[in-house]
């Protein structure tokens, strides 16, 4: 049996020498994007807590569903907005595998 635990042999520096270049909290725009999604998630939780017990219908649909649909719309807006924002900043090259004409067509429909 070949069992590898190479981390036991790896030259790992003490914590004090760790560079901290790559942290969970991103820098710049990334931090704003993180903040936005955390904010709307907390907002959803707070709104569910404050208003979720009301048996109210709006246009025939329960208030709970409207709250969740608005949360979904905010998420979609955030993804599309931030994606185009970061795409503007990151000009080519776009990381992609080579595409043939057939593959490009099959990007949008089933190949025949």
């Amino acid at each position: 049996m070949k069992w590898n635990e190479d981390w036991l042999k790896a030259n790992r520096p003490p914590a004090s020498e760790h560079t901290r270049k790559y942290t969970f909290w991103p820098q710049g725009r990334g931090r704003l994007i993180f903040g936005y999604f955390i904010f709307i998630t907390l907002l959803d939780f707070v709104v569910l807590t404050l208003f979720g017990e009301r048996p109210t219908l709006i246009a025939g649909m329960p208030l709970l569903i409207w709250i969740t649909v608005i949360f979904a719309v905010l998420t979609i807006a955030g993804i599309l907005g931030f994606d185009s924002w970061t795409a503007d900043r990151d000009s080519p090259p776009v990381e992609t595998t080579p595409q043939t004409e057939n593959e490009l067509r099959s990007d949008h429909e089933l190949p025949s």
């Binding site: 590898n4 569910l48 649909m61 979904a72 979609i76 776009v94 990007d107």
Partner: protein
Amino acid sequence: MNFPPEISQLVLDNYPLIIGTLIAYFVVFVVISWAAKRKLAKDVGDYVVASRDLGWVVVTFTMYASVLSGVGMAGIPSTIYTIGVPFVVTALTGIIVSTALLWYFGPRIWVLGKEYSFTTPGDLLGEYYQSDIVRMYTVIASVLYNIAYIVAQLLAGGILLNVLSGNVISFGVGIWIITIIVIIHVALAGLRGIAWLDFFNGALILILLFLFGVVIMVAAGGPGSVVAGLGEIRDRFIAIPGMIGIFSPSRIYGVAIGLSLGAIVLSPSAWIRMYSARSRTHFAKIGVLMLILWLISHVIGTYLIGTYGRVRFPNAENPDFVSSLLAFGVLPVFLATLFLIAVLAAIISTTDTYIHTLTATVVRDCIRTLFWPKMDDAQEFRLNRTITIGAAAICIFLALLNPVLITPLAIFAGGITVQLLPPLVGAVTWSRASTEAALVAPAVGILLTLKWETGFLPGILPAPFAPALPGLAVAFFINVFLFIVISYLTKPQSPEQVEKFHGLLARKL
């Protein structure tokens, strides 16, 4: 299964129509499998990750169809029937959060997969933490998750074939038929064939859920009238904490962790689909389209089916069959038949996806890594097919021995895979994470989930914070806490390893 006599009679009266529609579906199935087989390259990369060239629409539909399964078509309407609107919110909240996480993790997993030819979750985590124990955690999570889902699908498939055949095909024979169809499909077509079939199945499911919801609204006289029909339970049904009185916001988020995060982001099949996408730039489109599909499915489909099911069949013996009963009670026979075939399609999509994933992770992460390191691609390709048959046999055995409810099983399965989230965060975004943390924290999370969700492992501790939080959510938070604390108490990865992963991602993204 004990269907009401009038519905059994309805099925028998329309037998030629039902069988004809069923045959038509399987003709489409065979044509898609044949087309995929023609395009299947003779290498393991195409079999497992479809040569990393699936378009974003196909990836979206394959993720949608494989996750929806019998859970979305039968299980979620039945849980809405039992709990009320808070469960619609639970399902959708989990999907919304999962969409954001998919957009975040998808490109990172894709870049690492393409750079280092990863095809499974174990490839990525095992390589980053340089540990085969960590790799084995992904295999254990994959086996538990996939078997739980496959067994539930086979049970539902056996019942459906029994109903659609007017009791000509017995429940047990139905399970065998579904399994044989899936084995042939997976063995011949690989992920490409699964993805193409999922595209077709996903579109069929979406259209029929939407049509079902519209017909319900027409039959009841509008969405408000559907709710009004609930009578005296109306207020409890449409508001927190729901019919059984425990679905508070914290429980909604806790259950969503297992039901959606575990399935959409962390399940091995979702992970493999992230590798198989054609470009890292596709994940925003995949996330947004998938969320729109789920919104249509749940707001128009499962919410109205579960709610109107409660109105029409207030004392259903088994809520898992409410959607089928309601289909024949509300829809024209042809559409009702199509709906049940769509459920069957969802079951087939999920079963073939999860058998494929189970096989790929066991072969690559366990057999190839530990016992047969010199296995070449052709041998791995053949072994994948052999293991597929073995895995299917185990699932048939379990399905015939252990009848289960669909939704609780899905939540448990997701509760297992979500325990891989902390090590994933360490591998792609938090370089302070250590191997010791990746060894201890997920193991504790998986064991506590087994303890608190299934009663497996007697003794130790009762689930804390119940019913405000489900056991799997508490297990997940303990996992996260341990992962952070142990990482800070131990040494980080070597600078070379950090640059190999985090440095690459910083340059590419």
